[in-house]
Symmetry: C2
Subunit: 542 residues, 2 copies
Amino acid sequence: MITKKNQSTKKLVADWDALMRVFIRPEDDAAECKLLKYMEQILFGLHDFLKKHVGITEEVPLKKLGTRFTQTKIRKHPEKKLADVITDLVEDIAPYAVNVASPYFVGHMTSAIPFFMVHLKTIAAALNQNVVKLETSKVVSVLEKQVLAKIHRLIFNKNEAFYRQHVQNPNTALGTFVEDGTLANITALWVARNRLLCPFKDFNGVESDGIQRAFQVYGINRCVVLVSALHHYSLKKAGGLLGIGNKNVLPVEIDSNNRIDITALEDKIKKIHAKEKKTKILAVVGIAGTTETGTVDPLRNIANICSKYGIYFHVDAAWGGPTLMSEKYCHILDGIHLADSVTIDGHKQFYMPMSCGMVYFKAPEQMDVVRYYANYVIRPGSADLGMKTLSGSREAVSLILDSALKIMGTKGYALLIEHGIETARLFAEEIRSRKLFQLVTPPELNILTYRIFPEHLSRKLTVADSIEKERINEELNHINLTIQRLQREKGNSFVSRTALALDKPSAQKTVVLRAVIMNPMTTIEILRQILDEQERIYDRTF
Amino acid sequence: MITKKNQSTKKLVADWDALMRVFIRPEDDAAECKLLKYMEQILFGLHDFLKKHVGITEEVPLKKLGTRFTQTKIRKHPEKKLADVITDLVEDIAPYAVNVASPYFVGHMTSAIPFFMVHLKTIAAALNQNVVKLETSKVVSVLEKQVLAKIHRLIFNKNEAFYRQHVQNPNTALGTFVEDGTLANITALWVARNRLLCPFKDFNGVESDGIQRAFQVYGINRCVVLVSALHHYSLKKAGGLLGIGNKNVLPVEIDSNNRIDITALEDKIKKIHAKEKKTKILAVVGIAGTTETGTVDPLRNIANICSKYGIYFHVDAAWGGPTLMSEKYCHILDGIHLADSVTIDGHKQFYMPMSCGMVYFKAPEQMDVVRYYANYVIRPGSADLGMKTLSGSREAVSLILDSALKIMGTKGYALLIEHGIETARLFAEEIRSRKLFQLVTPPELNILTYRIFPEHLSRKLTVADSIEKERINEELNHINLTIQRLQREKGNSFVSRTALALDKPSAQKTVVLRAVIMNPMTTIEILRQILDEQERIYDRTF
């Protein structure tokens, strides 16, 4: 990094006195003032950057950027003082980071967060509790159980007596915080696997004895998970990790609305039951907000099928879960309370800072099958939360979520959700009204996909044979790839892209542009500007 | 919660204007001033609490505490304003949290952190980058690769050319950040499993095809992991999760120094190779700082054995890893660079806030076996870090570690490490010099265990038969349990307790008190006061 003009050039030495100074919180006004000054620099230095750099980032090719980060020896003596480190981060790192808070950043499920979230995260850091056990968290573990009950109630809406019984019950668990949605889905399928392959006579269960022995005892040679073809890749990862094999996470066809095809699902189940005696269905996963199109599977129908065939039903609502707070749109998730477990992400539509995954279980005893003890902590009978979690040491993110719920109310969140859905609908209309574009998947929640679809290619496509069709689609893919890249590189705004399998049975995928509308400052005017820019780039490039 | 006198009682309403105000960063001086005021309250409100409440926590029985956290409905409209939420956290939550920063808190691997860590965490929160992909992190992904290379170099110390080749290489990975040590160990064994049961002819590997098919192809019916009896419970969890079964994580005897018995280890390997043709050894795990006694396995010897028999060698250095920064004591970890992978925790002896696990791989291609792609992100050939990680969305904790390394230097960390080890030695001497106590496991690093061992019971024990011996040990266990509990409840200081299997072949475990010395403000004087208090409690109670 370039040395700043004002940075201290005095040689820094690590010694005991210096060390004690960073551990002892300041006693006098002058020192307190200095600490606060640093916070000011953080809050408003970054603020200025966020104001100055519209769009995702200043354009510096990655390779060139990489050459500045190649030094790999840790220096023996301090290189920088805190003030200089903060200056570096504000002046040298932030400008090359991605401004996810910009209303022109509509490409991913990461967005602006309310400013108070930064304050709340600071509190969690200053307290530095470890919620793996009571002895390093005490009240925070108690509060975490309460927050888990609040979100469980939002999803499953059991009666008051149920929550009174379980909210502070050390023997039951309504859910758990995990790092992110991937670990939430893994936890759900871990529980489902252990329930399916549970202890039986002298078999101690799959967790203890392993897959090989479990399959032997149950007389099977395969476990499968059924989920729509639009599932998140974490489900495949879960299959791989859990030893059932990721190829056994089987995609089920989607209908024309990008939802799982219910008939295809039931046919698949029937077929497995009839013809594959040695295959067990571990779980069916429904998606409440697919990553690529934001669409929601018919949860109630899936629940009915699962209930009919006695199959574990998990819902991946990492994205869509908070829609439950909107009285206007919660019906889109109808049937979610019938699931056995539900994934939901705090760092997505609860607008929390990275990283806060959660998974909830309808039955409070469900998580007993993933219980671990240790002598020095999480002893049997204790209320230590680390007893039934994938991870061990954990940050107290529940403090942040709980405070956010108090500050926002469900109504505050509902306003955000509704703004996203309704702005996405306006955006869809705008896309439909412009000649250059084709709306590919209309928004059910607040995600839509579209593509550049010039009229001359559209006309050609309608009369093309299959070989010519493939060539034209190739050309369209190339156009869309290029425009997404050029727009990203200009740095004014950002939409993402993905590739959808629209043209079945052809294996050819369709490249689409993907917009995620979750920033309350993203207005239809801004979205129009984004389309205007894409039109300009197209005119100039093709 | 009790309503504070100064709290606003005006009815709060969620509306669009209020919502926009929390998303738009303030424009004028007055508003900026207010934001800063909140930070002041956080930094110094908590500071005052930390000063006032020595010891781990105010004494409020957990059940009583629980009754205050039973409300499970999320309110529709806002309950509190940010200022009031902060006041609640400072005045109503913090006093019942655990003051892990107190120098009298010597019970767990959580301690005071330098104040600048809170500032650094605040920066990470304010930037809110998601390092799963470049499109939501850019420079921060680049910086993360550099930090990973720095710690890799600290552990494996390859030459400059090696690091030049890999530091910014998008196709290789020197390691990854994970939530904590548990997920680090899981990741290491996940990689080891996939390498052992790798693709072979028409078999696509265990990750794709599952354990059952893998075992069939390789003609085995069991995979085992060998590790000292003092291993962390996360290794059992890894065995369960990965489908090999947690009962196949086999404990190897320890020697009188609480290190893995090298002869027993080699015998076990030989025996498996000779007699259990259908068992494969997945990995041997060495521990660099066991959780209970802080002892370090003879890593070089284990490495030699693993090399001789061609077995994957993982080191769990979650605790002890940073000892490598001390020129004086790094020899304790001699041989760690021979491991295939190493776990190390940032939130332990790098003194970072919760939660920062890491795992490093000697061979930069090792992680290829856990690679996942998705259409909308982490596409083949990209430099997206999420391609080879257990989790998906992740906070940019690398920013914090990198800054901390710059501020501290290896020398700064070395001073902390050395203080811990040397103070633990002084503490051991002190325990030895007092009649009421018995030093059970002397400190190799900065952890020791001891117990209350009254002279009259000590005398009885020497002449007792085995039944009487068991009775006396039962009594000793009861005494130690009681004193640890009473001291914890008094709230002046905190040592933890665990139960060690010292008296083999008897199944009876010995309850010991456990001290972890990692706070630079914990002096031998403070430790003497802790013993004094235990003596007083003993005199009063027994």
